[in-house]
Amino acid sequence: MSSVSLERLSKRYRDTDVVRDVDLDIAEGELVVLLGPSGCGKTTTLRMIAGLVQPSSGHVRIGGERVDPLPPRARNIGMVFQDYALFPNMPVRENIAFGLQERRVARERIEARVAEMLALTRMQPFADRYPAELSGGQQQRVALARALAYEPRVLLMDEPLGALDQRLREDMQREVARIQKSLGITTVFVTHDQQEAMVLADRIVVMNAGRIEQLGTPEELYANPRSLFIADFVGRSNRLHGEVRELADGIVRVGLRNGLTIRARSTTAMTVGNAVVCTIRPEKLRIADATDNAIPVTMRRRSFMGASVDLTVEAEGGGEMLVRLPATTAHVPIPGERLVLAFDAVDCLCFSETPG
């Protein structure tokens, strides 16, 4: 097990910066998720750690050692690929043994280790099957077993659960978390699914346009998004457009487009007259008989989600909003009903409309 450090890591293809000046320190045994929309540079970053892509500039350190000049095979890392990349010409047992055989490990040791890996991933009954005879979830387990068999220093996972259906995906997330914690292996996991990132990560690195947008625990990112992009990408947020009227002690008074005035928490430097976007989480809205920091709306649709009831409402002056109430809520409004939504100023985050 080793730490991983990325120092001003960059990748340029012709005139495009795919990854720009990424600095990141990953502690030993930590599971870090690289999260971002497609094309944000997360997979390229992962492939640079693996040595499958050469950085244009910057360095990769594993356990303090600079691995830039080393080919992938000399880096001693395990990797799970998006399409699993199991060798179709070998049965499960031999796929798992591959890394050990290439390292010229003694036969008895290989057999013992393969048996251990089959047990760890609960794949013993399928040891002699070929990849084509396995389901997606089973192939995923074999890919994980193959990557872990030779006790690599670091485990890299490139959207490994993308091809699985929702239910299996959740099972596999728990499985990956269990195995990662039981081995204590430093892991970098790439995904575009924020839910998955929240379930797995010790820390999440949100990437956008080749840069790290924000880095923190799931709680930090959810509660204190540093930009509108993060507020939108991690969890769901309602957006309210308006203009700064007044500033005092970190609280902004915002005049909304529909004529209402609300109070929100300012996040970045802004001045009176700036165009801003205020975001508020659906669960921070409550139905109340209030006039202060309140938005009158009309009820449109309800969706029962099991643990919560989601209401889609229409704000006066246009714009849909999402409200999340506990499933135990006694009175759920009916469509057409007029309501007032209230919220605390600290729960409403105010961002400048122009980024930066």
Binding site: I77, F98, R146
Partner: protein, 287 residues
């Protein structure tokens, strides 16, 4: 109503099948029958059925040497062709550029050009006054006066040129079916480039490569134009010999027997190669 159209539809399909079968089988019947008849005088065929033509061919070492040379030239050309086609197809298949599609189209179009035209270009290139021979001579200060035309080397080069576009196209498809992530996985899990080739690529590409090689071999065995033009009458292969039997000796039965033996040889080589296939794959699996 639906049942009725269905019948008409089926009848059209079966009719086409029967017509195709007749077009193939009827000439074959007369051709095989002719190979069993005696040649009484030039151009005159008798009517007693016997295996005499075959006995005569099998008993004559001259025919054996011609068959041997044809097989040798065909196999050598396949080997040379594979050495050129495999890396080319690999590069094309792994290049993630739109230009690849145009290169493949170009390759396809070039394979429609008449062999005669292509051979003409090749003989200008390889002739005694051609650029290749001159360059080799100049580089060796006149000591190396290699001949690349009107001998086995010329024929082999011609056969490679004849089959290369098809080999590249077949191998391109075969290699494209192996996802690059398999090579990445092998590299990350500890394999060198050579070991990746040996343990992952070769076992997966072997069946398709064998198919490409057999198709090229079969084309070479039957190649007439390249062999006759680049061999310049000095290289005798089975197709050229058959042509001579017909044109110079007007010995149709003997020509038919030779043609049938050529077909049987090709079939035998193909069956042997396909039978050897599973063993070869098992061999690569052990690593």
């Amino acid at each position: 109503m639906i049942g009725r159209t269905r019948h008409v539809y089926d009848a059209a399909l079966v009719g086409a099948l029967i017509a195709s079968a007749l077009l193939f089988l009827v000439p074959q019947f007369f051709f095989i029958r002719q190979s069993l008849l005696p040649n009484v005088a030039p151009g005159v065929v008798g009517d007693t059925i016997s295996l005499d033509n075959y006995r005569e061919i099998v008993a004559d070492p001259f025919y054996w040497s011609v068959f041997g040379r044809t097989i040798g030239l065909s196999a050598a050309s396949v080997a040379m062709g594979l050495l050129l086609a495999f890396p080319t197809a690999y590069l094309l298949a792994r290049m993630a550029a739109p230009i690849v599609r145009w290169l493949i189209v170009l390759l396809l179009i070039s394979s429609f050009v008449s062999v005669v035209v292509k051979v003409l270009g090749l003989s200008l290139l390889l002739g005694t006054d051609g650029p290749v021979v001159r360059t080799l001579g100049a580089l060796s200060f006149g000591f190396w006066n290699v001949r690349l035309l009107h001998n086995d080397v010329g024929v082999a080069i011609g056969l490679v040129q004849y089959t290369l576009p098809l080999m590249v196209m077949i191998l391109f498809g075969v290699i494209q079916n192996v996802p690059p992530s398999l090579e990445d996985a092998a590299a990350v899990h500890g394999a060198s480039d050579w070991r990746t080739f040996r343990r992952v690529l070769l076992p997966l590409l072997w069946p398709g490569t064998l198919a490409a090689a057999l198709i090229a071999f079969n084309m070479n065995m039957g190649a007439f134009t390249s062999a006759v033009l680049l061999g310049g009458g000095r290289v005798l292969t089975v197709p050229i010999m058959i042509q001579r039997k017909i044109v110079l000796e007007t010995d149709y039965p003997n020509a038919a027997a030779l043609a049938l033996l050529l077909t049987l040889t090709v079939v035998a080589v193909n069956l042997a190669a396909l039978k050897a296939r599973p063993a070869a794959i098992a061999g690569t699996r052990a690593g």
